[in-house]
Symmetry: C3
Subunit: 199 residues, 3 copies
Amino acid sequence: MDLIIAIDYIGTLVFAISGVLAGVERKFDLFGVFILGFVTAVGGGTLRDVLIGSTPVGWMGNEVYIIIIALAVPLCYLAKNLVVKMKKGLFLFDTIGIGLFTILGLEKTLSLGLSPIIAVMMGVVSATFGGVIRDVLSGRVPLIFRKEIYAFACLAGAVVYLLSNIFLKEEIAMLISIAVVIIIRIFAIRKQWSLPFNP
Amino acid sequence: MDLIIAIDYIGTLVFAISGVLAGVERKFDLFGVFILGFVTAVGGGTLRDVLIGSTPVGWMGNEVYIIIIALAVPLCYLAKNLVVKMKKGLFLFDTIGIGLFTILGLEKTLSLGLSPIIAVMMGVVSATFGGVIRDVLSGRVPLIFRKEIYAFACLAGAVVYLLSNIFLKEEIAMLISIAVVIIIRIFAIRKQWSLPFNP
Amino acid sequence: MDLIIAIDYIGTLVFAISGVLAGVERKFDLFGVFILGFVTAVGGGTLRDVLIGSTPVGWMGNEVYIIIIALAVPLCYLAKNLVVKMKKGLFLFDTIGIGLFTILGLEKTLSLGLSPIIAVMMGVVSATFGGVIRDVLSGRVPLIFRKEIYAFACLAGAVVYLLSNIFLKEEIAMLISIAVVIIIRIFAIRKQWSLPFNP
């Protein structure tokens, strides 16, 4: 579907921008900034593909991803102020993006004949581990391990998709589950939800 | 053999507990704590499978591993004091676990037709790299690179297994080599052995 | 060609020495020092092989690599002063090595039917990500993301190889592109070139 492709590409761009900005903040050079944008955008899906054995990894089959990520670098250079101003808009696309990446990762895993539990896990990995690799490469403890209910939103979306897919058409199930991701994430940030764990 | 399966599962639980406790110490949230338990328990075998090309990686074919690791989280929550008190017992199971993981990793590598040297290396990787990934994800320099004779014990166990397997039955070779791992590790800690390297 | 094999082996040794010295500096023990030498020497090619799906990864098929890397440890121990004195010579071999690793990584990727853009990227990954993994494992932000025009030299060499290979014999194209890598890197260090990126 054209809408899915559009969201996929926009989500990739927004993820890449987040990586590029993290690299700029850490005073990386051009190579470092590009690599950080790259791993943030496709790192989660790459890890999923390596683990489930779907190689060459996904982005190697479609150069549009590389072009989009390469565009994020001059975009952050030329329009840094605009990018910073658009933070709210970016946040929305980021959230739609993680919803979609979760479902696409889940579907790809199921299509290889792996079990629903593994598919849910790989959906969450697809959406979240780009940021984990970004943080490890920039010498930080992964943000997602500490705060944000980001991963839980993906998990909820994945489970809702699996269940609603039994009764509803795939497109409807996808819309519902992406909505679940968006709603949980927005509520979480509004209410400063978190999942502390201190026995 | 049922005994091997039992040791494998107990070893997985003990590894997962060590990861969960490391996550708690770093004040990770529920997601971070689970991920840290997960990579500690299956990270070494996952890296081995990816390197030798045995994908989907091992734990994707048996959901018992995921259930065991998921159990480690509430276990550490509900019974933290008990877990800490049982440290000595956990240490023993941990050591039996690394012995078994070394041999199983070695066997899996040989079964793919790779050479004995590669098999020994992959045995050691299976037993030790879960902890390396745990440390990298929690922003620490891997403990195993600095202290503990842990990796050397695995290496010795792997070589003893390869050699004794020529003359003895597989079960006997396995018992002997796990005993070697246990003895070296206990001695090493008693005598504070280490392998310094300062040219 | 024998010359290529010789450069490959010498490059591997020089990369391994750089990893071993980094481990010594960080006060790692024997195991840590060996692992750091190992990942520095073969980490880039290993990551490439995993991403393009060429597993078991390359070094598992030829034990000469393991022997060379294992030799780097006593070499740094017995002849540390010599190694430090030979720094300039090592730098030259290191630079020839990254040039060759770039071209070999590019060729391997093309041979699997992947596109020239992916092949160029995998060439650069082959030559540079050993150092990235070394830095991550020793708790440092990857040097290559901050300074040095190292990665750009590999990129230029890879593109020159792809283009010159259309018109010239493979051996000539290889020589020219390795020369490009060497020249850019030496100039870069002389002139303190860098690729800053601060929008």
